[in-house]
Amino acid sequence: MAATVKLSALPVGASAVVRDIQKTDSSSVRLREMGLLVGTELTLVRCAPLGDPLEIKMRGYHLTLRKSEASLVTVEPKEP
C-alpha cells in the first residue's frame, strides 16, 4: 500500500483517496453520512484564512471540517 497521511496534513490542492476513518462517537458518523467514506476521492481545496477549518471537495460538492476532525481521516495522496 502506498504512503498515507492524515487528511489534516494533506497539502492544499492535492487530491487523495480515503483509506481509513477512525471511529469516534460522533463526528465520524456524520462525516460518513456526508459521503466521506473509505474509497472516496477528495481534493483539499483550501484552508480558511486563519488556517482552520479545511475545505474539501468530494462527490461534486464542498464540505468544511476542522483540522481536529480531519486528523481522524487517513488518506492516500494521488500522484499529481
Partner: protein, 693 residues
C-alpha cells in the same frame, strides 16, 4: 371520496426546498412552531387537479434522519410518527439537488425505508445540465419504482407535472431493496420485532426505525417526541456493547452499505461529462475566501449591512415615531382625561410603540440575514470566522448572529437557529445582547455630551469613548461565552462539518416572504410580553397619584417608580448613581433609549426631540443633596458601562423566552448581565474614585 393525503417535503439544506414549497402552496401557508422546540413548522395547502385541498408540511432541511440538530430531530420524528402534535404524513416528497445526486440521495434512501409512497423531485436540472451532468430520469424512476419528476423550482418548471403526481389517488411504494450488512442484520431484525411488539409500531416503520437507532448515536432528543420503549433500548444497548467488544463499526458499516447502494443507482442513471471543471462558485470563492481578499469582502458586506440599517431604517423609524405621537394625540382628543387614556397613550403606545419603532431595523436585518443565507455567503462567513470563534468554544455559525446584535439583538437571537448544537446556540443567545445595539446609542451620546460639554473637546475623545464602549461589550460577550462553555454549558467542542453550497442568485420574493414571516413571529410572540411589561412600567410611574397640580417631575418622584428609585439608591450609590438615575434604570428596562426621555422628565428638562442640549445642561446642573456634582465624568463613564452590560430590554427577554421555551434562561440572562453590570461599574467607579477622578 377518501380523505386527501397529507404530504411532507423533505430534503437536504440548500436544495431548493423552500422555493418548491412556496411554488406549490403560494401564500397559502401557515407558519408556527413545533410545540416545545423552536423549529419552524410550516404547512401549506395545495389544490389537487380535482380541486381537493391537500396539506403539505415543509419539514426542516436535513442531511440524515440520524439527527444532529433540533431541526433534523423534528424531521425525523415527524416522518417516524413520533410526534404527538403532528400526525405521520401519508406520503413524502423528496427533493434533491440534481447537481449533487449521491449525497442528496442518502436522505432519500433513508426515507424510502419508511414504507410510505415517495415522489422524488430532481431539482436544479438546469444547473446540473450546465455542469455537464445528465440524469436518466426514466431509468431512475424504474429502478426505484416511484415517480421521479425533473424540476426547476426557481422558474416553475416541472411544478405542473409534480402537481399531477401529487394528485394521484394511488402512488406506488418503492421497490428498491438493499442488503443490510450481514453482521448487523440479526440486530435489525431483533430491534424491529421489539419495536413492533413493545412499541406498537407497524412492521415497515419499525424496520426503518431499527436501522436509524443504529446510526443515531448521541442524537438529539427534542421535546414533544415519544421516547423509545425500555425493552428496545435494552436490546440496542446489548448489541452495541457486544459489537464494541468485537470491534464492529456498526454505524460506519451501515452508512457505507447505503452509499454502496446509492453508488450503484447513481452510476446507472447519472453521467458527468466534465468531471472537475472550475465552476463559477469556485472562481467566486477564490476571492471570497482568499486569505487577504476574504477579509476585505467580509468587511465590505458587514459595512454595507450596517450602512443600510442606519441609512434606510432612519426614515421609517421617524415615521413610526411620528405615527405613534399622532396616534397618542388622536386618542387624547377622543377620550376624556383620565387613567385609561394615559394607560393607552403613555403605557401602551409609549411602551409598545417604542419597540415598534425598531421594526424597520429588525426587518432590514432579517432581510440581510435571509439574503446571506440564500446566496450561500453565510456559510463562507462562518468558515472564515470559525477559528476566531473557536477560541471561546463556539463555531463559526455564531458569528453572524453576534454581529447582527450590534444593530439589534432580536434578529441576532432569532438567527441562532442555524446553530445545530443546542448548547452552542444557548451560549450565543446568552451573550448576544452584550453586543452594543443601536438602542444604546442615545444613552452613549447623552453621556458623552454630558461628559464633554461644549465644542472645545476634541472629537477624537468622543469617538474614542464610543469605540471603547463597543469594544467593552464585544470583549464581554466573548468572555462570557468562554466562561459559559467552560462551566454551565460544557459540551463537546462544536463540529464544523458544514456544506459550502454553490452560490445562487437569491429569489427576492422568497427572502421577503421569510422576512415578513420572521417579523410576524417576533411581533406575535413577543407582543404579549412587551405589552404586559409596558403596562406594569406605566403603572409604576403613574401610581400612586400625587396631589392635583403636580408637575410631571413631581408625579414621577411621587410614584412607585420614584420610590423604587429611592429604594434602589443604597444599591446603586456604590456605583455613583442616585435615585434620579435609579428611576431611569427602572423605566429604561423597557428599552435602553427610554433612559434619555426619563432623564428629561426627572430633571424637568424641556424635551427637544433629537436635541439634548437642554437635557445636558440639566444633567450638568444636577447635584447630590450635599452639593456634590452628580454627573461627574466618572459617573458618566460608569453609567455607559452599566448600559454596556445590563440587560435593560424587554423585547430581548421576550424573544429569549420564546427561543429557549422557558422563563429560566431569560431570567438567568437578566440576572447575570445586570449582576455583571453592577460589579464592573463598582470596579470602575471605586477605582476611579480612589484614583481621584
Amino acid at each position: 371520496m377518501a380523505k386527501a393525503p397529507v404530504y411532507a417535503i423533505v430534503g437536504n439544506p440548500n436544495c431548493g426546498k423552500s422555493t418548491l414549497f412556496n411554488a406549490l402552496t403560494g401564500l397559502k401557508q401557515k407558519v408556527g412552531n413545533y410545540p416545545g422546540v423552536t423549529v419552524e413548522k410550516k404547512t401549506g395547502t395545495l389544490y389537487s387537479q380535482h380541486g381537493q385541498p391537500i396539506t403539505i408540511i415543509d419539514l426542516p432541511g436535513a442531511y440524515s434522519l440520524a439527527a444532529r440538530s433540533p431541526d433534523e430531530a423534528v424531521t425525523r420524528d415527524v416522518l417516524l410518527g413520533r410526534r404527538e402534535d403532528t400526525a405521520q404524513p401519508d406520503r413524502v416528497l423528496c427533493i434533491v439537488d440534481a447537481t449533487n445526486l449521491e449525497r442528496n440521495l442518502y436522505l432519500v434512501h433513508q426515507v424510502l425505508d419508511l414504507g410510505r409512497p415517495v415522489i422524488l423531485i430532481l431539482n436544479m436540472m438546469d444547473l446540473a445540465a450546465q455542469a455537464g451532468i445528465s440524469i436518466r430520469v426514466a431509468r431512475l424512476s424504474q429502478m426505484l419504482g416511484i415517480p421521479v419528476i425533473p424540476c426547476e423550482a426557481v422558474n416553475g418548471k416541472g411544478i405542473i407535472e409534480l402537481k399531477l403526481a401529487i394528485s394521484r389517488h394511488d402512488l406506488p411504494l418503492s421497490r428498491h431493496a438493499w442488503d443490510i450488512p450481514a453482521p448487523i442484520a440479526p440486530a435489525v431484525a431483533e430491534l424491529q420485532a421489539s419495536l413492533v411488539s413493545n412499541g406498537g409500531k407497524a412492521p415497515l416503520i419499525a424496520r426503518a426505525e431499527a436501522l436509524l437507532l443504529l446510526t443515531d448515536q448521541d442524537s438529539v432528543r427534542v421535546a414533544g417526541s415519544a421516547p423509545l420503549d425500555a425493552k428496545t433500548q435494552e436490546i440496542l444497548r446489548s448489541w452495541q456493547s457486544r459489537w464494541e467488544a468485537q470491534g464492529v463499526d456498526w454505524a460506519g458499516t451501515l452508512v457505507s452499505s447505503r452509499y454502496e447502494a446509492i453508488g450503484r443507482l447513481a452510476s446507472e442513471v447519472a453521467q458527468s461529462a466534465k468531471p472537475s471543471a472550475q465552476t463559477l462558485s469556485d472562481r467566486i470563492d477564490a476571492v471570497v475566501i482568499h486569505p487577504l481578499w476574504g477579509w476585505v469582502v467580509l468587511a465590505l458586506v458587514m459595512t454595507l449591512l450596517f450602512f443600510s440599517i442606519f441609512k434606510f431604517a432612519q426614515a421609517p423609524m421617524d415615521w413610526i415615531g411620528d405615527g405613534n405621537a399622532a396616534l397618542a394625540g388622536w386618542i387624547r382628543g377622543l377620550m376624556p382625561d383620565g387613567d385609561l387614556r394615559n394607560l393607552l397613550t403613555d403605557g401602551v403606545i409609549g411602551g409598545v410603540g417604542t419597540i415598534v419603532t425598531f421594526l424597520p431595523q429588525i426587518l432590514i436585518l432579517f432581510f440581510f440575514i435571509g439574503l446571506l443565507e440564500s446566496t450561500g455567503y453565510m456559510a463562507r462567513a462562518a468558515f472564515i470566522m470559525d477559528r476566531l470563534m473557536g477560541h471561546v468554544g463556539l463555531n463559526g455559525k455564531s458569528f453572524i448572529p453576534l454581529l447582527s446584535s450590534y444593530a439589534c439583538a432580536i434578529p441576532g437571537i432569532m438567527a441562532t437557529r442555524t446553530i445545530e448544537d443546542p448548547k452552542d446556540r444557548l451560549v450565543t443567545i446568552l451573550v448576544a445582547p452584550l453586543m452594543s445595539c443601536s438602542a444604546r446609542l442615545p444613552v452613549y451620546l447623552l453621556m458623552i455630551a454630558a461628559l464633554f460639554p461644549g465644542p472645545t473637546y476634541p472629537i477624537a475623545a468622543k469617538v474614542g469613548i464610543m469605540v471603547l464602549m463597543y469594544a467593552l461589550g464585544t470583549i464581554g460577550a466573548f468572555g462570557f461565552a468562554w466562561l459559559f462553555k467552560r462551566t454551565l454549558l460544557r459540551g463537546k467542542p462544536p463540529l464544523m462539518i458544514m456544506e459550502l453550497p454553490p452560490y445562487r442568485l437569491p429569489r427576492i420574493k422568497d427572502v421577503l416572504l421569510q422576512m415578513t414571516e420572521r417579523a410576524g413571529l417576533f411581533l406575535k410572540n413577543a407582543g404579549t410580553v412587551i405589552l404586559a411589561i409596558s403596562i406594569v412600567l406605566w403603572l409604576l410611574a403613574a401610581y400612586p397619584k400625587s396631589p392635583a397640580g403636580a408637575t410631571a417631575t413631581e408625579q414621577l418622584a411621587h410614584s412607585f417608580a420614584g420610590r423604587a428609585g429611592h429604594l434602589l439608591e443604597p444599591v446603586i450609590k456604590p456605583i455613583g448613581f442616585d435615585w434620579h438615575i435609579g428611576i431611569g434604570l427602572i423605566s429604561s428596562f423597557a428599552a435602553r433609549e427610554v433612559f434619555v426621555s426619563t432623564m428629561g422628565v426627572v430633571f424637568s428638562a424641556e424635551s427637544g426631540g433629537e436635541d439634548t442640549t437642554s437635557l445636558r445642561h440639566a444633567l450638568n446642573a444636577a447635584r447630590w443633596p450635599d452639593g456634590r456634582v452628580l454627573f461627574t465624568p466618572l459617573v458618566c463613564i460608569t453609567l455607559m458601562v452599566f448600559y454596556v452590560f445590563a440587560m435593560q430590554c424587554m423585547s430581548t427577554i421576550a424573544v429569549v423566552r420564546r427561543e429557549t421555551n422557558s422563563w429560566r434562561w431569560p431570567l438567568f440572562q437578566t440576572a447575570y448581565m445586570t449582576g455583571a453590570a453592577w460589579i464592573i461599574c463598582f470596579i470602575v467607579y471605586q477605582s476611579g474614585t480612589a484614583l481621584g477622578f
